[in-house]
Symmetry: C2
Subunit: 553 residues, 2 copies
Amino acid sequence: MAKQQPAEQRTWDKRRQAKRERLTGAGRYVDGKVVKHDSLVRVLETVIRPGDKVALEGDNQKQADFLSRSLAQCDPGTLHDLHMLIGSVSRSEHLDLFEEGIASKLDLAYAGPQSVRIAQLVGDGTVSIGAIHTYVELYARMVVDLLPDVALLCASAADEDGNLYTGANTEDTPTIAEAAAFHDGIVLVQADQIVGADDLPRVDVPGDWVDLVVEADRPFYIEPLFTRDPQGITELQILQAMLALRGIYERHQVVSLNHGVGFSTAAIELILPTYGEKLGLKGRICRNWTLNPHPTLIPAVESGWVETVHSFGGESGMNEYVAARPDVYFDGRDGSLRSNRVLCQLAGQYAIDMFVGSTLQMDGEGNSSTVTEGRLSGFGGAPNMGHDPHGRRHSTPAWLDLHYGEGAAMRGRKLVVQIVETFQSSGTPTFVESLDAIEVAKNSGMPLPPVMIYGDDISHVVTEEGVAYLYKADSLEDRKAALAAIAGVTPLGRGADPKELERLRRDGLVALPADLKVDTALANRSLLAARSIGDLVAWSGGLYEPPAKFRNW
Amino acid sequence: MAKQQPAEQRTWDKRRQAKRERLTGAGRYVDGKVVKHDSLVRVLETVIRPGDKVALEGDNQKQADFLSRSLAQCDPGTLHDLHMLIGSVSRSEHLDLFEEGIASKLDLAYAGPQSVRIAQLVGDGTVSIGAIHTYVELYARMVVDLLPDVALLCASAADEDGNLYTGANTEDTPTIAEAAAFHDGIVLVQADQIVGADDLPRVDVPGDWVDLVVEADRPFYIEPLFTRDPQGITELQILQAMLALRGIYERHQVVSLNHGVGFSTAAIELILPTYGEKLGLKGRICRNWTLNPHPTLIPAVESGWVETVHSFGGESGMNEYVAARPDVYFDGRDGSLRSNRVLCQLAGQYAIDMFVGSTLQMDGEGNSSTVTEGRLSGFGGAPNMGHDPHGRRHSTPAWLDLHYGEGAAMRGRKLVVQIVETFQSSGTPTFVESLDAIEVAKNSGMPLPPVMIYGDDISHVVTEEGVAYLYKADSLEDRKAALAAIAGVTPLGRGADPKELERLRRDGLVALPADLKVDTALANRSLLAARSIGDLVAWSGGLYEPPAKFRNW
């Protein structure tokens, strides 16, 4: 042995000791693992210490809002300088924590409804941003260099032993629980109800991983993020859907896919049983999905288009429908959906042919971002889905159809599609000279502009003008020309050279509706298999129960 | 509603009905969830049907070998044409299944010890290969288009309710269990022992997800894959380790990383407390690891280099040591390691600065493969680790140091490093004109050559001659020239132009030992913090218990 030396006199279980101390301190507010309802604030002040990294469950849909509201009531004299790890910053109290001095640093993935306020708080120095991640990237760091001292999570029900039932909205709970539970972090869970031992419909997270449970004052907050009312779908979007279906789905024989949330992708889901059926595509495309239970997919499911749907999370109102279609959705033995963001993201990354999303801004090179001036909205899962995973090794026809490279270096490519209208509904052009994200990065001291999807990661862009086959562009110049050709009357599009368009069409870099044999006259709402939420309910045989805000009957 | 129609008269729970039938059929061999030991073959013949997709747990280390041996004893008249999904094809009976006509199709990720026989069986048509995947890619498909009808899994202990304790080797069990359990597949688990309800040290998989358990005839098979005896480390490998440490780890300030298994990376682990210490790098680099518990990391852990290690799986003999270092490793409340391949791969993909691996063959463009003539060994996890994940959005100094692109498109890059000796120990050159994988693909009818890591995904290559900084190469020509410059006296290296070498050094594409101020005279075994397995045991204070085959005292 080169350098024989006695094992250093070092403590190797500091975290375990700290955890034991904290839980002992909370003992008087706790009965077994169950926190007395009115003692939650004191328990939080006891099990959390200043400077701690605290993972607070804010997922894409569900929110541990009893815990976040209670944390915001803690005494900033006792609890301060917390480093919050929050997937989705969606609740006002998430930011109250910073204004009140309880927290100072934030690592996040997404900030939809709070995107304007968060930008202000970053601007005035109240919030110090670690980084904007994707969801799974943030969870990945929880086992590497952002180790939670405390995890505050969310379940539908818990039993006295801490076993958790998450129902349809499992989402991220097992992953965050695992990161904390197996590195001596404290796991504290709010549950809509606490039941006797072994009285849960099923177990989604073993009680073994959970230190404390508390019954919430009201059911956890949930956002119907993936519900698009067919009434809001425009004829422009139906045209885009037709172009995408012929120019991409049919052309490349796309069997497995993910749709982002948006009216254009909802339109595609709703023309599968009509336009898609007429094209003879049923059974040939769109069979296996990684997707939350979109209500607008119901007609395609009922018409026999869809073999399977694996989900990141649930969707309000869809539980009964999903429970009645177990061959399609992933249900537990209790009959309800089991979702799992990490597993579904893995599937979305390595097992599907195509991702289709949309964006608020795209520059001339195809870079896109939802971070625009005054809004710091984050990415959610789009960058994970929206790139070609170089670690994939199995082939499918669609993937091989986009092959590149020679000899040993030849490989296929995932389809990464952006569907955008040339103008936003506000009248501002989608295609811009320069992304707002560049300015935002400068002003917030970010090392890089917060780009959602990079132009060189995109294979296709669809507008109402046509389809750009960016994967065929051999140069940045060609990529820019193909984008300009479908950018309509935006400044970017007006600069396009009409002669250039002919070359691009000839070389297959751009296809116009006529090239795709899309009859634009068909692009009207009668092509939608459902034209309202009520239609979706009817398709579902009454199983879909839309949230109140989508009911107008 | 465009096309009002009644919900089709369709059965939506075929899988659930089939599962119920099968389990009912097995009822007489079962007591609750516990399969009578001597009835296992009959149970397998009852719950599996011809043509089924059967996920058989073969992980990197652990093997459900009681189940695989029993499956091989089934009657091919009853059970045939199974489509096997096996992560690691490591046991002879995995292939017996095909020779006996029980199985016909195979999707896999890795086939180490069976790589020669599998190539023969593919050649003669006995095995039809679906695809060679990475581990996580195969699991991803289990929720998309390779849905297991039955999952045959492996645990250290189970209770009568089916709760599982996996001990240090959790690996892939929860992921495969989830894919099957939540889509009405049958989950059958072998356990080293079956205990009374709630008598497990901890719960790794809830009993809720498990249909049947059976006590194994002997403890499950486990391979000490990540143990490298320091006695086998050569001076050439120590030189490589020094070059890597100065030319990559120190230069780019690599804080978080993964090491593949190999003597070169073992050498790096063993010179951290000696050479690394002398360079003043302790605390500045190599703090956070995604890594199985490598015995050769013990000296670095004991010397205070390592903050955390998150693991894909366990390692034989390391359990006591890992249990005594809970601040470093991820342990459960029972005190033993919790590993998880999917979570650790996620971390390896999105949360670390660098992957370092090695290969058997590399071509002039840097493409590498472990699939060589007559061997079909697969990839395991290397392609997941060995590429730059375009879905990453947070920055670290190392990642930013390799930035590329302009304006909105500027981003960092993961370090993907290959360490290879110019010649294999057999005397065959590592650098070859053309990968054997190309010929293998042709002969086996694969759509693409089975390349492990692509040249354009690699950022650095290290040989005993120097370091090639491939990420700086703007063209394929430069990449090839940089590789040739460090390819020594292989045919590829002999073709290199000496004048070109000067240009490459000047431009920073290649660094020789002198450029990195590496004193080659120091490259001898006295630089290793441990020079034998016995030394490692001493460093561990007697906690490391090496498997018998590594004991020579």
